[in-house]
Symmetry: C4
Subunit: 470 residues, 4 copies
Amino acid sequence: MVYPKKHPGGPGILLKYAGKDASAAYEPIHPPDAIQQNLVPSQCLGPLAEISGVQEMSTEVIERTKDEIRVAQAMKERPPLSRILNLADMEKVAKSVLPHSAQAFYFAGTDDEVSLRENRRAFDRFFFHARVMRAVRKCDPSTKILGYDSALPLFVSGAAQASLGHPLGELNITRGCGKSNIIQMVCGFASVSRAEIAAAALPSQTLFLQLYRTRNEEATVNLIQEAERLGYKAIFLTVDAVVVGNRERDVRSIWDLEKEEGKNRYYEEGDGEEEINLLGKSSFANRNDGLDADMSWELTIPWLRSVTKLPIILKGIQCVQDAVLAAEMKVDGILLSNHGGRQLEYAMPPLEVLFQLRQRRPDVFDGLEVYIDGELLECFSNINFQDIIRRRYTARNRFAFHRATAVGLGRPFLFALSAYGEAGVAKIVSILQREIVTSMQLLGAASLRDLTPKLVERVDWEPVKREYKL
Amino acid sequence: MVYPKKHPGGPGILLKYAGKDASAAYEPIHPPDAIQQNLVPSQCLGPLAEISGVQEMSTEVIERTKDEIRVAQAMKERPPLSRILNLADMEKVAKSVLPHSAQAFYFAGTDDEVSLRENRRAFDRFFFHARVMRAVRKCDPSTKILGYDSALPLFVSGAAQASLGHPLGELNITRGCGKSNIIQMVCGFASVSRAEIAAAALPSQTLFLQLYRTRNEEATVNLIQEAERLGYKAIFLTVDAVVVGNRERDVRSIWDLEKEEGKNRYYEEGDGEEEINLLGKSSFANRNDGLDADMSWELTIPWLRSVTKLPIILKGIQCVQDAVLAAEMKVDGILLSNHGGRQLEYAMPPLEVLFQLRQRRPDVFDGLEVYIDGELLECFSNINFQDIIRRRYTARNRFAFHRATAVGLGRPFLFALSAYGEAGVAKIVSILQREIVTSMQLLGAASLRDLTPKLVERVDWEPVKREYKL
Amino acid sequence: MVYPKKHPGGPGILLKYAGKDASAAYEPIHPPDAIQQNLVPSQCLGPLAEISGVQEMSTEVIERTKDEIRVAQAMKERPPLSRILNLADMEKVAKSVLPHSAQAFYFAGTDDEVSLRENRRAFDRFFFHARVMRAVRKCDPSTKILGYDSALPLFVSGAAQASLGHPLGELNITRGCGKSNIIQMVCGFASVSRAEIAAAALPSQTLFLQLYRTRNEEATVNLIQEAERLGYKAIFLTVDAVVVGNRERDVRSIWDLEKEEGKNRYYEEGDGEEEINLLGKSSFANRNDGLDADMSWELTIPWLRSVTKLPIILKGIQCVQDAVLAAEMKVDGILLSNHGGRQLEYAMPPLEVLFQLRQRRPDVFDGLEVYIDGELLECFSNINFQDIIRRRYTARNRFAFHRATAVGLGRPFLFALSAYGEAGVAKIVSILQREIVTSMQLLGAASLRDLTPKLVERVDWEPVKREYKL
Amino acid sequence: MVYPKKHPGGPGILLKYAGKDASAAYEPIHPPDAIQQNLVPSQCLGPLAEISGVQEMSTEVIERTKDEIRVAQAMKERPPLSRILNLADMEKVAKSVLPHSAQAFYFAGTDDEVSLRENRRAFDRFFFHARVMRAVRKCDPSTKILGYDSALPLFVSGAAQASLGHPLGELNITRGCGKSNIIQMVCGFASVSRAEIAAAALPSQTLFLQLYRTRNEEATVNLIQEAERLGYKAIFLTVDAVVVGNRERDVRSIWDLEKEEGKNRYYEEGDGEEEINLLGKSSFANRNDGLDADMSWELTIPWLRSVTKLPIILKGIQCVQDAVLAAEMKVDGILLSNHGGRQLEYAMPPLEVLFQLRQRRPDVFDGLEVYIDGELLECFSNINFQDIIRRRYTARNRFAFHRATAVGLGRPFLFALSAYGEAGVAKIVSILQREIVTSMQLLGAASLRDLTPKLVERVDWEPVKREYKL
């Protein structure tokens, strides 16, 4: 058992639903086999249907909140899928149809969200020296990632809790990727079980596993062995999240809804510290109390090597020094990432790390595959929503100039799923395909091999502030 | 025949007008001789007047759209021409009187329009070391371009579809240039035929031809030979548009109008991918499916040399390396341009390319003439219209410091034409004349030869955000 | 006596309250023993109660001003303390509940408040190279300051007139610090006497004294000797405030209130210069006319050494040269500070001074302890309130990279006190504890020793404009 | 006679007032002796009073315009002079009380007013390394300019047409400077005659002459000889205005007023070019058609030496090369200036020129006195008025770090005069005195000699956007 002594989400959430039907809150954030995996039989008290009081309560007519009314209206008014021209369009629709709490979880960055925005702004400092008069009519953007075919130089990166946005959750991503020949890294906090995802995949389809190492080593080993059995092809060990970042947007989302409903709470004398433990951390953070914050180069890598033959990739490398260490430890790959700006504030943007790595230690690229995190398209802004949205493809076709193998994209797929289900996922891939091919052709590149560092220059001017033009 | 197998604008546009009088949509984008040039007699079914159903339909009373009402009102409220003090003023009037779809076509940049705006912002990083105590009372801004006289160091660059803005289209530009002694490069997608333009020119007037090479080599050769016969003096081969950029503003313009009319369309279950091929590309992009994306230094330049004795200029050079290659291939000139920000996103601004070329390979200027694209004055902004308008003359009088021979300007002439017809074109030239002469005098330069690189410094500060002060 | 000849606040304030009960204006800005310390018995005319006219006046019903009504309403609507997630939240509440004049005093910077804002913006130019795979489960942020234990690498810096925000003034800071094991530097202009503060402290608690040297040397010596008797452990001599900066926000606050009450004053012919001496300086500036503007390295340091054995720290060092001089003079520490942006406009931000010191003269760190001023979280803005708020912790966990010993924070404690009294002070410390520990863990640091300069890079891009997301 | 053949303001203005009493338009822009100086007796047709028709017309009741009503209201609502804390306050009042056309003339910069704003922004890139522990109680900001005493290191620079703002025009500046011991450079286009100004000066007061050389050499010589007779002490030859810059704000001001009155004019067919010569240039520009645009180092300096023994200063040096030439020509001083951003667009800001001169050719400072133009505090903005106002004193106390002798300030005195007459002028000097002394003290400087280049650093970050906090 993983968490034998306490509820991983903390006691607060149990008290909140005591005596009530908690299904609506439980299902999006627990995989279906969570009970079998985590509870001993004696802790399973019996089926819910037998407890009559709860049953009655669950048939109560619940008045819809303003947020629910907004979401329902927005679902009706989604534009036709043919009018989604880029990832920003998709994100805008997703934002309109996501419940506020799901928005808060998906969009949140740490603290003031500086890392989150700087990740994205970094792309604006790299300009092209486009080449002309080259034969580019036939342009092939396909590649191999850890030896597995990929239609595009990108993969779906782990991003938690897809069922907040759509009842079928990650399964739709799996199906969309299968048809599009895109590899999916399955999140360590997926809302669908690893087995269900494997079952939804095509026989030829490649899946990677995102691993969070917990303090319960046995459970971690079981998880890896299950993934091997299910045919997962690589382990992405998360190293940038030994504790959970301070995502205030997420914490505040409940209070935002209270305020919207006109149920403001005010300070009363004696109103002190006691509440903070219950409410001051997001429920997501509470559920991650078991993470192993004592991983080390000396112990963790050899241990992981000893329990699996799968390729090992470190997800969350944030500086040149650690990239060098990873190469020395002979892992199979590194994903340059600061967890999408959700962990350390003022973390160096992955694109800058890639650039520095290329400048200072190009030898690292010879020993392992280097991936890089895409950017979050948008973050909420009270001031000016339009000014911080941007398209994501820039990440994808430019990574290669620094010889990164592929870009991992997480949130765009969650957005697509939330907005249009499986059709949305397919749409995202087709948009990316078109954008990558057009850009390659205009750069004079007929294949990814033609994308060399000389085509890119880091400029010394501040990028123009961009507006959203949907 | 150029397009023997299919309609260059795609099948969608044919279906849209099936059984209707398509004249209003056809005329602005096809030169009058398009049928003679492109269809065999058997494809010409007869005069429209004989088909009675269509005739009736075409007499239907069409209710005016909000956009049409806006345009009609704006035409009435144009300021007197004497109050147009600069090119931004002209652009503002043009924007107010252009139908939305014409605006979208003229103003569109690629993707998020970063290239488009950075092109213009680049000018703000170059400041002057003005010299005093020099005799400048007599100040002569005239020059020669490829040996032909020009009143100013600029020419009209190819810019498509002038008849979207004015029924007489490019002809007015031709007439205006004749009177002003300015050279016109006739666009490969002009809405008036090359012959009509030649006929409108004065005997002494110089015309250049912008050439798009299509996959139909024979048609291309015919076109060049026709231009030679008509007296065109140089060939500007477009090399930065082997595929058409992703100009979403243009694609969206139809939907914007629907929305304005309150005819919103929403997503329905099953609403999938099929539509994208019809609507996801602009009609302009559809019509350019025949472009040759397999041009090369090795084959294309020698071929072009073999079919014409006219000077050859490459339009769309975007980096130092290709400028060097062009010099090695002994072409007669290069036009540093990224197609006005309409093709590759994050393309290096032409002014920066000019600066780098001057720094790194000044020898290139000895072998050929170097021209540079002007900047687009304005692009739409949902946020702050005023803040991104600027005047264009900066392009014109500063180019010379890097020894460029002339600046090509496209959109300003379209704007002038759309706003005031031929009088507008003449006005633009007179404004530019005044601005260039005044600036030269204040710089201590009595002729273009006095404009040396030492007068310019690339500053290291971020330029102030500018406002529009009409 | 310190000011034998005139009232330190100038004659204007005496005239203003002539014949009236001045208690409400007197008490927040004078410590209780001000009369005993500064007046000879012959100047004390007797108890106020005997003067009947004044008594009557003081029972008059005073109509509440708009500002008072605003404050009362804001006090009712404070959010629960558990919803204060960061220092910006606290500051926002403080701003809402502070009377306008207190706001003006606390928030004011000098002149146009450029120094004030640049102090804060400097933190946005330093990014992290976070390290992963290090054992950080046990993370200890405690340190020693001048040999005294501190739970966190920060202390409460001197900040004047706490009773403007809360009737108990600095006493609550003292009590909060005692429980949290944080050191308090007691302001030279505290609204509570040094003796009262000492009495409120725990026996084990450390207090430092902020010293303003006046022209009355005897009074200064008395003050030091009193502090020694009361157990204060160090002298922070203020060197950046020999005259008082031009804090216009403070000067204008009275006029703002007049305007709010609709009592505008207009210019009349002959309205000249005479008023400026009365109103053109803030009352705070007037009270500081006695400061010694003739301190010098040669005379002042030896003199201070001769009158106390306590460690001497110079508060307000603003450049590398003076840091070197301080080391040569063998003082015990320096506090890099420009008085929170309240003195010289265009002063170099302390973080930049720290960075330069580290680069150019790392030897200085061997001879003395280096502290650095935190940043003011927010300053008023008529334009965009949200855009300039930020969190302060960045100061705290990043200072160490340049080997500063601790960060001094002033205003956050005033804000906490004003908003929630003593509970607010405790809350601030607990927020800082959480933020520092989380950031250290995500940086791969288990103790302050692990925070080395290599973890920080001064980036060459302009920081993103940040929004406030409460 | 200076302009024997035509009216210097062009024929348009004559036609406008034909048959009318033109006194109101004539007086602010012509000195009282303009007729005697410029017309031969035969051109003087007799006194106006005899022409009865005009007399009648002039007694017509003229309805007040919206602009006049606004000005009258603003005059009533000026704040008391004691509430003017800085030069931005003064400018704000001036702006409110100036007629629109006077605003346009005073505030106008050339073209898009980039030079104008960059002049000011340059000051934001220079920060201080303040020194502490220095005896600054006695702080003396006085200096000598060309050997003449000045209370502060600044002088009143030439700025035209003071009577647009106040009927007494420059005379009030003269009187204010006399009392304050500040030197006045009398503008070449002053609205009061040089003789009247000399008469208003104290016997001990120093006046300089700003000279515009016209094509009529004899008239120029007469003017210099008159100035010598009147006791002017130096000649500032204007070299940056051989033609008049394109100040569109000024040109547009008439149209703005028309629009405000609802008297819009629209384009009519045939509305062409003819008007531009009448209206496309400001009346100020028209009146300056006689300027000598053929000055040269070789001829002009020797000629000027030959006609006067007064010190010669070149006003409008804009680069290091010309500063070096000036030193070689042995002139007595140079004023680094681009005419307040009113002439060449994208001119290098004077402060940057000063910095470059100091870096590259410090020897120039040995041979002559170097002055620098202050910055314009504010320019109109349709978008954000508050964001571009700033205080001017930064110019004054920082110039010295680069060894400039003094700063010339023009517009602040016009603003002061317009807002409060002579009392305003005195107020400006007293504000500057306070700001300079306070800043010097906080920098550790007791005299101007203590202000050395080491105290200043040009920073590499973009200055914060400043707000106005009146």
